[in-house]
């Protein structure tokens, strides 16, 4: 699929009120690049995060989110560019940076044959905690992640959601100023997901700055003060949600759900001729393992184009299973900027 002309690779700079504050940002990223041989995973991204902010990096799988987090957390060495955290360079002062940050990796990074408490003890010690301070902090974290009663059970006996919570708990032990959370809700049940999102908001209320990566538009919308949209290693948009959705104006998105045997590409092409249709794109959406065939249509007034859209589909013999109309959101922004659905 091709990028939307005019929006493609250019970073859309939107100045926010937060950036105008006088406090120096806790994180500053300048032209960060990561290459693996001929492949460039991150292509010179720049952004900053203010203390106390929840900043989301939103993008599809393979966009470069985890590589970015890995460079910022000092795990990978950037090919070019620079980043500072709490005033410390990630390349020149990695140990100082590690004391400022907490990291919740995308994949569980726990010792499953140890109990939750034993895991927290070990990781707390790795962050220099010991004695009474360590025990007190572990009790607080266990309370925070809701596992006080089951702290003495081995992690391998836990559900996926409980493991995720311990994974988060490890990242919180040393009370980091800046917490990196890399897709912490992937592969868990809705209840655990809700619990994690609430925890992020609570942590932020307590003053913790959060860099949150996700490919779920809903999570970015619910949590973030500001959002950076990343695709193919480039930061293609950056700003508050209001600023980003303004890019698609007052336009609405009409999502047509069709059968998997239907020619969604042909339908999307035919819909572009309807007056009022600004953009029409065939997409594949993955809803909890089930792949849905959809056509997303951006229009000024969704209701106005609904009848001609259905007519066009009927003319082509395509059966529409259901239709959703959504207000301007980050999904629409991504679609507008890339010509692809975020969920592709």
């Amino acid at each position: 699929m091709e990028r939307n002309p005019g929006c493609g690779n250019a970073l859309t700079l939107i100045y926010t009120s937060l950036e105008e504050e006088s406090m120096p940002p806790i994180l500053e990223v300048k032209e960060l690049v990561k290459k693996y041989g001929d492949f460039t995973a991150v292509k010179g991204i720049s952004f900053d995060i203010q203390e106390g902010e929840i900043f989301s990096l939103l993008g599809p799988n393979g966009a470069g989110k985890t590589t970015t987090i890995s460079m910022l957390s000092t795990l990978y060495v950037p090919t070019a560019g620079e980043a500072t955290i709490g005033g410390h360079s990630v390349t020149k002062e990695p140990m100082a940076v590690r004391k400022v940050i907490g990291v919740v990796p995308q994949d569980l990074a726990l010792y499953e044959d140890l109990t939750a408490r034993e895991n927290l003890v070990f990781w707390g010690q790795m962050y220099g905690l010991s004695g009474k301070d360590l025990n007190t902090r572990i009790d607080e974290v266990l309370e925070q992640i809701g596992l006080t009663d089951r702290a003495k059970e081995r992690v391998k006996a836990y559900s996926g959601g409980m493991k995720r919570r311990v994974n988060i708990g490890v990242g919180l032990l040393h009370k980091p100023r800046l917490l990196f959370m890399d897709e912490p809700t992937v592969g868990i049940d809705p209840q655990s997901r809700r619990s994690i999102l609430d925890s992020v908001k609570d942590l932020n209320k307590q003053g913790m700055t959060v860099l949150y990566t996700t490919h779920y538009m809903e999570e970015a919308q619910e949590l973030s003060d500001r959002v950076g949209i990343i695709d193919h290693g480039e930061l293609i948009a950056l700003g508050t949600q209001a600023e980003l959705t303004r890019q698609v104006g007052e336009n609405e998105t009409l999502i047509l759900h069709i059968g998997e045997d239907e020619d969604s590409e042909a339908l999307a092409k035919s819909l572009k001729g309807i007056p009022g249709v600004l953009q029409a794109t065939a997409t594949l959406a993955n809803h909890q393992g089930q792949v849905d065939h959809e056509v997303s249509v951006i229009a000024r007034e969704a209701e106005e184009i609904l009848a001609p859209v259905v007519t066009k589909a009927n003319e082509r013999g395509i059966k529409i299973h259901s239709v959703d109309i959504s207000e301007p959101n980050l999904e629409a922004v991504f679609l507008h900027l890339t010509g692809r659905a975020l969920r592709d």
């Binding site: 693996y36 890995s70 957390s73 000092t74 795990l75 990978y76 060495v77 140990m95 590690r98 004391k99 940050i101 990291v103 990796p105 994949d107 569980l108 990074a109 726990l110 010792y111 044959d113 140890l114 034993e118 070990f122 990781w123 010690q125 790795m126 962050y127 220099g128 490890v170």
Partner: protein, 417 residues
């Protein structure tokens, strides 16, 4: 430094919670030792005194003091439970009887053996001592190995006396303290003293004069148990190496690297964990075999020191395997292959002394061979001071392997990309 220990002890805790690993580390060598004990008759109704009454044929063609001394050693009261020596006059008859499986070995002392060591004419010896032949029965390698060890120790002591005698006579002559005519008399006296020394201090003393311990039988279980323990030590060190790559795949190693812990501490901590696990495994196996099989391992301090160095050498191999492999599965596969190969090469299944010289040389690349040498020395009454060769061998092996491993680790960075 503290984090290094924390990482190591965390790994020890994890390994002792892994039932599959424990089965291989502790149960398998223990059961194999038990099985071999039954096979060799050491357990389950066999003789209670270890391998005993080894049939040895002795052919003494020498008419000097040293030939007589060796015969007396082989027929001594100290070795009476272990050896059943029979004097035979003809070497060919002795070899035929060994071939017919009627004896474990034949010791053939050649004509002129004493004269080749202590010249009767008072001349300085030429340096080429006559060779004592130990004709071994290949179907009884353990028993034949015991006989060979006894004769080798005897020769070693005689050789020490011979060289000493040469030096003394040469020095006395050079200093003008004796005349050439007196050489014969002095040499005879030294020879007599040497023969008496060998008789008084038998080559294989099962009652150590130095330690004052009571006589003990040589129990071949004391050979099998360390052999198998050392073989399964190779499993432990390769399994420990596998855990480094497994932690990389599980994400805990990258998580360690982004904690305020430097990379060297993380890696050394992991290696420390492997080392401590290996030491714990060896200690448990040795303690269990002492209590259950009644194996006498010898000087406890020597045993401990030998364990520490054997595990060091073995850990070096574990790290090299890990540094060369790409995945945990590769470490397991290579580790298993090396465990079995080293088990064979290092003498875990049969004594290396029964094998050709080239085999003995190759075996020196294994911690098994050095370790078994050391454990045999201790089981036969040796002390801490007799362990210098195995300890130096294991130390050198460990250092070389660690240096090479670190070079490979640096090349194939574990996480930093």
């Amino acid at each position: 430094m503290k984090k290094l220990f924390l990482i190591g002890f965390k790994d020890v805790k994890l390994i002792f919670r892994d039932r599959a690993a424990l089965t291989f580390m502790l149960l398998a060598p223990f059961l194999l030792t038990l099985g071999m004990g039954f096979v060799t008759g050491q357990l389950g109704g066999g003789s209670s005194s270890g391998i005993s009454q080894i049939q040895v044929l002795v052919v003494n063609q020498d008419d000097g003091q040293l030939g007589e001394a060796l015969v007396e050693v082989l027929q001594s009261e100290d070795l009476s439970d272990l050896l059943l020596s029979t004097l035979v006059t003809d070497p060919e008859t002795a070899r035929t009887q060994v071939d017919a499986d009627q004896a474990a070995a034949a010791v053939i002392i050649p004509t002129g053996f004493t004269d080749s060591v202590i010249p009767a004419d008072g001349q300085i010896p030429s340096g080429d001592a006559a060779q004592i032949e130990v004709y071994k029965n290949p179907t009884t390698p353990v028993s034949a190995g015991v006989v060979l060890a006894i004769v080798e120790e005897f020769i070693s002591r005689v050789e020490t006396g011979r060289v000493g005698g040469e030096v003394i006579v040469t020095q006395l002559l050079a200093a003008g303290l004796i005349t050439p005519e007196q050489i014969n008399m002095i040499a005879m006296e030294l020879g007599q003293r040497q023969a008496n020394l060998v008789e008084e201090d038998p080559a294989i003393r099962l009652d150590s004069a130095e330690s004052g311990q009571e006589a003990q039988d040589f129990n071949p279980m004391a050979y099998m148990a360390p052999g198998l323990a050392l073989m399964f030590l190779m499993f432990t060190v390769s399994n420990g190496g596998r855990s480094i790559l497994a932690e990389r795949a599980l994400g805990t190693l990258p998580r360690l690297f982004i904690s305020p812990t430097n990379s060297a501490q993380v890696l050394i901590g992991k290696i420390f964990g492997v080392y401590i696990t290996g030491v714990a495994q060896m200690l448990i196996l040795i303690l269990a075999s002492s209590l259950i099989f009644g194996i006498q391992w010898g000087d406890p301090l020597g045993v401990l020191l030998l364990i520490l160095f054997a595990v060091f050498g073995a850990t070096g191999w574990g790290m090299l395997i890990t540094a060369l492999a790409r995945t945990p599965g590769q470490v397991s596969n290579i580790g298993t292959a090396i465990m079995l190969t080293f088990g064979i090469l290092g003498g875990s299944f049969f004594p290396i002394s029964a094998m050709p010289d080239w085999f003995t040389w190759i075996s020196k690349i294994t911690p098994n061979a050095w370790g078994l040498d050391g454990f045999s020395i201790l089981a036969l009454g040796g002390s801490l001071f007799d362990l210098s060769a195995p300890i130096i061998g294991l130390l050198a092996m460990g250092i070389i392997l660690f240096v090479v491993s670190m070079l490979f680790f640096r090349r194939h960075s574990l996480v930093q990309k």
